[in-house]
Amino acid sequence: MIDIDVVTLSRLQFAATAMYHFLFVPLTLGLSFLMAIMESVYVMTGRDIWRRMTLFWGTLFGINFAMGVATGVVMEFQFGMNWSYYSHYVGDIFGAPLAIEGLMAFFLEATFIGLFFFGWDRMSKVGHLAVTWLVAFGANFSALWILIANGWMQHPVGSTFNPDTMRMEITDFMAVLFNPVAQAKFVHTVSAGYVTGSMFVMAISAWYLIKGRHIEFAKRSMAVAASFGLASALSVVVLGDESGYVATENQKMKIAAMEAMWHTEPAPAAMNIIAFPDQAKQDNSFSISVPYLLGIIGTRSLSTELPGIVNLVDSAKERIRAGVSAYAALEAVRANPKDEAARATFAGKWQDLGYGLLVKQYRTDVENATEEDIAKAAADTIPNVPVLFWSFRLMVGLGFYFIGFFAAAFWVASRHKLGVNRWTLWLALFSLPLPWVAIEAGWLVAEYGRQPWIIEGVLPTFYAASGLTLWDLSLSLAIFLVLYTTLLVVELFLMVRTIRKGPHDRDPIEDTSPAHGASILPLPATASPRL
């Protein structure tokens, strides 16, 4: 039988390693494009300061990238290690985007990252610039494929359950590829990465300006980051992924939980600005709300109703009853695989099978579920409302702050007042950690808000874990905590040290590359004595 402690520890480990990995990824996404922009300016203008900017931000990029690589392999292996039933159950669909990510994106990024660092004096200017752009595109393609995989967990399209193999199998790859949830999430997530990269450059450059060091370097860096950051901050919020949320039943539950909306209201629904949700009472003990706002934002209409949590639990009960019947139909197929009538019955019901599996937490013979089991399983479909409500508000609040911040910075930069306006500098410096706070809050909303599902409506999380022992998990979790904490300290130490040392004010590399317009081919062997 399923050991709930093992499931809890597996979830804790996944959350810890994913949230930790995601400290490094957004900076890689953002900084890679910022470096590519800076190097483009260098190649177009030939002014060496832009190359020194690329080199310096590249050094910090490298320190961060190493951690991203170190923690990324863990992510790919953990599905099989800790979620083996998940891997069996949905590997036919979920595995493909992960493999294509390696093939199309990570190979590109990781192969050219070596040339980015080691190729400066071995390639033409344009050649090296191409390498930098390829690294940036590789990183962002990675995000695309990972979010196609994740989008399918939120909104599983293009697939069906096969009773002969006891798993989900793909029926329409294009539907998985162009999943609207995945597309919305991709734009939202990479934009958040660009905001992070921009804030990173803003804050460190601001520190140099406050200290009166590397003034020309810092001003130029800030000007690039302010414009890139403003565009990205607008994209994060305006093209945010709320549009994708309306797609399915469980995403409705996520919205209702994010908004602490317990009961369906007449359209358009009011939005709780502040609320103290009480999960046990299924109500808010206190709230301040703005009439009509949620209905308009959430449905983009005045007449569409948004269902409340309690009402969604009622619909979940219906689906669980249907799921119990689907489970019984599946048992009939498995008892006699040649019974075509049983297969036809199951084929009409499989969509509710996942809801039937929710009952597994209360009894193994799902087909005999009582109304009491069904009520308990339905109550499980409510995610943790207070956590979602507040993480969502934290994320959105910070999102609007970023728009304001970058708009102000852009305005100051465009009036050439960057060194003069000291309050902008201090604000930039103290805003440094905020993108990470917003991103981790966003991860909680998206993934913690998906609970109790690992694949929404298809597979409950508790049913998907590996049959490991508590000892296995305690040991692995302890190893991750010790190793990751140590490495984070080392990483921050090296970052701070590199920042304190600052960029080179003179050219660190002899420029041996040929003049403009050279091809991206390497130098002929005879011309390079180092070979």
Binding site: F65, M67, Y85, D92, A110, G119, N162, G467
Partner: protein
């Protein structure tokens, strides 16, 4: 799936081949990175030498490691049952590999950022562990696959592994681990003779000769063990090669020496072990004759032969179960669906050639020996 021009059997066979190609690709491409890491304390005697050794693989190891990432992803996508069973069954062994793989990137990147001997020594250890451990443990894993792994399924195809971590460390599995270690040390030494001069290359030749001889001896020993002492597995029912991927529809028995059956049925398969021995022999001659390219080619051929030998011996098995032989995973009952195999094949045919082209381009740009002088010019060197 009428629009797929290849039938399910052909696609399963192709994906078995591709699995082999990806694992061999990983062993050849990232194998020398692991070997160089594990040789670091032995071939380099001072900081300048250690920096040269590290920078031999510094510009390329990240791209090479993607072969492992891709291997993992491809097993997930094409052989989900294998991915689920092996990764969770070998849980603590995977953790050990992960520790090594977590230490490696930071080791490369952080080591030379600070010119303090104690700091550098810590990261040199990290790089040594990061090379030595995966080279050994991945071989131990293959040894365990050949022995059979104690797992079973319940009737919902949930896998249960009934063994511990130390159960993996049997004599045969450790022998397989040593073959893998020696083979990758040889490959790393070959890379060092190709990319360095002077005392480092000399030491690499000395160690490389020893490890190549050890590879030959241990590989031969493994062959004798498989022939006379190790239980192989045989499918005793007719498997539907076009049927659904459900590993509970067949019968399997264990039989000593059964892993040699494929070679008696198809003698041409003997080419794999022959290449294993021949490649390592070429490497030995290359080390002695100071022919760096020949050495490297030899060790690559040796790796190709040795891994192919394991794969061909197992066929059609991917992961036999010692606990419930009938639940063993085979090529015909552990794959993903017909459509997924087809889509993944298309993706591989489009992107793998592109990957090979730009990888070759990067090696061309980075060609030439690594010397103290070449490092001095690059502030980004490790």
């Amino acid at each position: 799936m009428n629009f797929i021009p290849l039938d399910y059997e052909a696609l399963r066979l192709i994906w078995w081949l591709l699995l082999g190609i990806l694992l061999i690709g990983y062993a050849i491409m990232d194998g020398f990175d692991l070997g160089v890491g594990a040789l670091l304390p032995f071939v380099a005697k001072n900081d300048d030498e250690r920096r040269i050794v590290i920078n031999v693989v510094g510009p390329v190891w990240e791209g090479n490691q993607v072969w492992l990432i891709l291997g993992g992803g491809a097993i997930f996508a094409a052989w989900p049952a294998l991915y689920a069973t092996s990764f969770s069954g070998f849980y603590l062994a995977m953790m050990v590999i992960l520790i090594a793989i977590i230490l490696r990137p930071v080791g490369f990147k952080y080591r030379s950022k600070i010119a303090d001997p104690r700091w550098r020594e810590i990261w040199d250890w990290a790089l040594f562990i990061g090379g030595f451990i995966p080279a050994l443990i991945l071989g131990v894993a293959v040894g365990n696959v050949l022995r059979g792994v104690p797992f079973e399924f319940d009737d919902t195809l949930r896998v249960f592994y009934r063994g511990g971590f130390f159960g993996l460390l049997t004599p045969f599995a450790l022998l397989a681990g040593l073959v893998s270690l020696c083979m990758l040390l040889t490959h790393g030494a070959a890379m060092l003779t190709l990319k360095t001069d002077g005392p480092i290359a000399e030491r690499a030749r000395t160690y490389g000769r020893i490890t190549a001889i050890a590879t030959i001896v241990l590989f031969a020993l493994g062959g004798l063990w498989v022939a006379y002492a190790l239980d192989g597995y045989v499918v005793t029912s007719v498997q539907d090669v076009l049927g659904p991927s459900n590993p509970l529809n067949k019968t399997v028995v264990a039989k000593t020496g059964a892993w040699l059956a494929n070679y008696s049925a198809h003698p041409w398969m003997m080419i794999a072990p022959v290449l294993g021995f021949l490649g390592m022999l070429i490497a030995i001659l290359g080390f002695s004759g100071r022919l760096a390219w020949i050495t490297f080619l030899g060790s690559a051929i040796g790796i190709l032969g040795i891994i192919s030998t394991a794969g061909l011996s197992l066929f059609p098995f991917l992961l036999p179960s010692s606990l419930a032989p009938n639940a063993s995973l085979t090529v015909w009952d552990a794959s993903s669906s017909h459509l997924t195999l087809w889509i993944m094949l298309l993706a591989t045919c489009v992107f793998l050639p592109i990957v090979l082209v730009y990888t070759a381009f990067v090696y061309r740009v980075m060609r030439g020996k690594v010397t103290t002088a070449s490092l001095g010019k690059n502030p980004n060197a490790y």
